[in-house]
């Protein structure tokens, strides 16, 4: 895993001009956050909303789409104007761009997916405090060209979304005995009493812990820092 991280860092620093849109380096920007460089399980960012919006699969998917959209377009915008941003107010500039996209997502959801926006309630607004978004702006978009930054945004949003949906799948399955609202246990004829722990944020904590464990066991994690 350490070589992977080193490679991704190298990719982050030198993305040369006139390379194909989906060159190997650019593909890595999309793939690394899904596993070896996952924002939730490896970088441990964005935990807050991962605990909050994962009671059911559907809101988790919408939340993921929202985060992917916000990270991608914030990264793109910041990268486009990165050479003009005065370094003394760069955090504020990043914040306003992120806030703008978050509000746009919130407004669009209210207009076209009212039920889901009600379920997500304040958490859409709280995308702005999601450490993944600003973390990627500061660490990547400020120093890279727009296209790689855009991909990096999508990659990290996806990495976040994958974990969110996995956690939501197990929480909905064991918490209310259904997936996407479909009563699985009832359908196969098992009388399943929902597990209350899975409905609470603590249940998400347990599942994320198990995911991190499984991932580290597979990727051969070792404490080296």
């Amino acid at each position: 895993m350490s070589t992977e991280v080193a490679e991704s860092k190298a990719a982050a620093v030198v993305v040369k001009e006139s390379e194909p849109l989906f060159s190997k380096k650019n593909r890595k920007l999309l793939q690394n956050p899904l596993d070896g460089d996952n924002p939730i399980t490896v970088q441990v960012l964005g935990i807050c909303s991962a605990l909050a919006v994962t009671v059911q699969v559907k809101p988790a998917i919408v939340m993921s789409l929202g985060v992917i959209f916000v990270t991608a377009f914030s990264s793109l915008f910041i990268s486009l104007i990165r050479n003009t941003i005065p370094s003394r107010i760069r955090i504020i500039v990043q914040l306003s761009i992120v806030a703008m996209w978050v509000i746009i997502v919130d407004q669009v959801l209210k207009a076209y997916a009212y039920d889901v926006s009600k379920q997500l309630s304040t958490y859409v607004g709280l995308i702005i405090t999601n450490c993944i978004v600003m973390g990627r702006l500061e660490a990547f978009a400020m120093g890279n060209k727009p296209w790689p930054s855009f991909l990096d945004g999508i990659g990290n949003g996806l990495g976040y979304g994958v974990i969110l949906v996995i956690v939501a799948f197990f929480r909905e399955l064991f918490g209310s005995g259904s997936v996407m609202g479909f009563k699985i246990f009832e359908a196969v004829g098992i009388n399943y009493q929902g597990n209350g722990l899975m409905m609470l944020p603590a249940g998400a904590c347990v599942i994320i812990g198990l995911i991190i464990w499984a991932q580290r066991a597979r990727n051969g994690y070792s404490e080296e820092h």
């Binding site: 003394r88 703008m100 209210k110």
Partner: protein, 249 residues
Amino acid sequence: MRQSNVYVVVYAAILTVVCGVLLAATAIGLKPKQQENIELERKKNILTAVGLASEGTDIAGVYNSQVNAYVVDAKGNKVEGMVVTDVDVAMEYKKPAAERLLPVYEIKSATNPEEIVNYVLPLYGYGLWDNIWGYVALEKDLNTIKGVTFDHRGETAGLGARIATEEIQERYVGKKIYSTEGELVSVTIMKGENGGGERSLEAYKGKDHQIDGMSGATITGKGVNEMLSDYLKMYDSFFKSNQSSISSL
């Protein structure tokens, strides 16, 4: 140059204006669609409370043909010149009880438009973390509860948030808000739960003014109790004047 104060100030100003314009444009562009959703949501909640909204119901159509809405004051008199959409229940909630404007939704029979079969009243209150609201539907005797819907902004998922589920709401069906002596007593969620689902319904069968509690959500339950009894009290004069007109018929 990029570090000079003038540059920083001008940069910040331009950024603010650009973001501001984009946001204002989005908000104005999407407003009609959002209003439509809120309006549909209100109609849906009212019809859900009386059990007229199922999957695939033409909400707007049923509402237009079967609902007659008007506004009354705390003395039970109809307020002329006001329509229910003028009354924001959340805003009224901040006024003293005696000054509030109270919407009433009469549900007419699907077959006979002259006959009123149910009344639906809005509710608004405070749970554990944030506001809660809903509708209560009464039979035409203005005493028996036909159904309720509740919703919330921030009650704990799996605990207080259960007030928004059918499991809790069906416990209200058939309960009475007036005692046999004609005193307004409302319906109270008790403390402690008898196993949920059917067992909860069974445990409070025959008790007209009590329903089973929600384990782990006592404070949300108290909030719901206060909300229901507060609003029923406000509508008390309206109920009294209409009950007498019904019994005199």
